[in-house]
Amino acid sequence: MFVLLRQLQRLRGQIGLPPATLRGSLTLRHVDAGSRNACEHELTATANPFYDLQRYGLSLVASPRHADVLLVTGPVTTRMAGPLRTAYEAMPEPRRVAALGDCALGCGVLGAASELAAPLDHLLPVDVRIGGCPPTPAQIAEALLTLL
């Protein structure tokens, strides 16, 4: 374990992330509304030592009750439209919605019309749009920091 921690410390030195200036904090809740799992991989990657989004006061939380921002991935399937709405309604005000990835932005969506509910911005008020297929961890980090 101590060897692992030393390796990580050395890695952090090599990566040399600039120190974060804390301007506040935001809690994020992610909902997968039909993505193909690449956006999820990149969102998870924002916590790795190369990006370390937590040092800006951004953290992913388990419940929408604790969340300031709803991060939505995927084109919103018919079957996920209901759970997505429930999660949004569970959030306290003030709340923000971020569309993560091209599908959530309604760009280049593939699938049968009957299986897709509607583009995200027809269902919820979208405040932040993060394009890309998938957006890179750096792009996700940059967009989320504008909310602080």
């Binding site: 060897v3 997968d32 193909r36 690449a38 790795n48 996920m80 999660a87 009957s114």
Partner: protein, 463 residues
């Protein structure tokens, strides 16, 4: 490669049972246009497609002999209206209108409902645990929340451009699904990949395996709450994905696979830089894995947990690292004449104990051979290549590829240059039933960890 064999409906279960007795392995079953039912069997590198027509869409079920076909029959029932005598109750797989869950009576028996939205950054799907106290008696799945109708929507589109549907099914298995799709189309069109094309695809497949296996080891550490391991392997995965971007222009290798061709070109300088990075990655992986093996608080949670027995793995048709960790000799790479795995020797799991520890160990053991293949291929980096006409075209073709999660199968039926049926059966599709089997008797709080040890994808199952 053999053409499609017609089987009389009355002989369906017997014909498949006879083939299985003859050493063939069940790989897929699906409904096809024109009231037909089709199965794919594999024996080494040989493929056998069996087809049965008409008969009022009613045949005998395979599941008594081949429980691996349970999901396939449920889906063929829903999609194509097929009935399978002996498969009772024939419950819906995709549909969400099913009546109550299987069991809810009994002393102290209670249900725990989880999902479709989970607590972390996880794909959407519903789990219904039937528990006594904290112990799981039975797990039922309700997936397909992410069903986008990709297979249906692909029908009628040109074979070459419809590869986007195979790509869009899943991000983390995108290369494997697309190579399986391309192989299926090429088989139907009578094309064969020349050595340069085989090399390019093999390189992409192993790059995909590299970042996935590193991700999965990181995920298991996260499941235990062992943050140093999570972060170290997340950093290694990041380096692997940056390498993918350097070599192909995309962190997930999107846009690199095409039907009948490869445009992938890697210059000598880029290949040299990649080889240097792979060497460093190998050292870092070895050092990191050495530490994880020695970390008592990590290993204590993994050993003996959620054992998938070899018998269950075989019966349920488990594939990939999960099956190999249970002692099933199942790796498509050993028999892939359409790819470049010359001299490939599958990694050994050590003791095939079938538990969470073995599934993690298996992935770590596979990283070495994966890096070997990458280094060999980068010694003479791939250049653009075109498939060549080799034999008469056929109406149906199948592609079989070892994805990071196991055998990914694609069957394509064409009408001229357009798709008449697309079927994608990913490694995750094959392994979900095995996961539900091996969690019987474990404690509910251990489930997330067991789930991560399989690290199955929802997107390519839901399609």
């Amino acid at each position: 490669m053999s053409g499609e064999r017609q089987v009389a409906a009355a002989d369906w279960p017997a014909a498949i049972a006879a083939a299985v007795a003859d050493g063939w392995r069940f790989a897929d079953l699906h409904d096809a246009p024109g009231d037909r039912l089709r199965a794919l069997l594999l024996r080494g590198a040989e493929q056998r497609l069996l087809c049965c027509a008409g008969a009022g869409r009613r045949v005998g079920s395979l599941i008594e002999r081949l429980p691996a076909a349970i999901w396939d029959e449920r889906e063929a029932h829903e999609r194509g209206g097929w009935r399978f005598a002996g498969h009772e109750p024939l419950r819906p797989l995709l549909g969400h209108d099913a009546p109550a869950w299987a069991r809810d009576e009994g002393v102290d028996l209670h249900q725990v409902a989880v999902g479709p939205i989970h607590a972390g950054v996880i794909e959407s799907g519903h789990f219904r645990f039937h528990c006594v106290g904290e112990r799981i008696l039975e797990l039922e799945l309700r997936l397909f929340y992410k069903h986008r109708g990709l297979e249906r929507e692909a029908v009628g589109r040109p074979l070459a451009s419809a590869i986007v549907y195979a790509q869009r099914a899943c991000g983390a298995d995108a290369v494997a699904n697309q190579v399986a799709y391309a192989q299926a189309c090429e088989a139907a069109l009578g094309l064969a990949p020349p050595p340069a094309l085989r090399r390019a695809r093999t390189l992409l497949l192993e790059l995909e395996r590299l970042y996935n296996h590193l991700n999965d080891i990181s995920a298991v550490c996260a499941g235990v709450g062992f943050a140093p391991g999570t972060m170290l392997f997340a950093a290694l995965k990041e380096r692997a994905q940056r390498l993918c971007a350097e070599l192909t222009g995309h962190r997930f290798l999107f846009g690199t696979v095409a039907v009948g061709a490869s445009r992938l070109a890697i210059g000598a300088a880029a290949a040299r830089a990649a080889l240097a990075e792979l060497g460093e990655l190998r050292r870092a992986i070895d050092a990191g894995w050495h530490e994880l093996r020695a970390a008592g608080s990590l290993q204590d949670r993994l050993v003996g947990l959620a054992v998938l027995t070899r018998a269950d793995a075989l019966a349920l048709g488990a594939v990939g690292p999960a099956a190999r960790a249970s002692g099933v000799d199942e790796d498509v790479r050993g028999a892939s004449p359409l790819l470049d795995y010359a001299g490939f020797v599958a990694a050994s799991p050590g003791e095939p104990s079938g538990d969470v520890a073995a599934r993690v160990r298996m992935r770590a053991a596979e990283l070495g051979p994966c890096l070997d293949v990458l280094e060999r291929l980068l010694d003479a980096p791939p250049a653009p290549a075109q498939a060549e006409r080799e034999r008469e075209p056929a109406a149906v073709g199948a592609g079989v590829v070892e994805s990071p999660r196991g055998r990914s199968v694609c069957v394509v039926e064409r009408a001229g240059e357009r798709l008449a049926r697309l079927r994608l059966r990913s490694g995750s599709y094959a392994n979900w039933p095995a996961l539900t089997r091996c969690v019987r008797g474990i404690l509910l709080p251990d489930f997330p960890l067991v789930n991560k040890s399989f690290e199955l994808c929802y997107a390519c199952v839901d399609r």
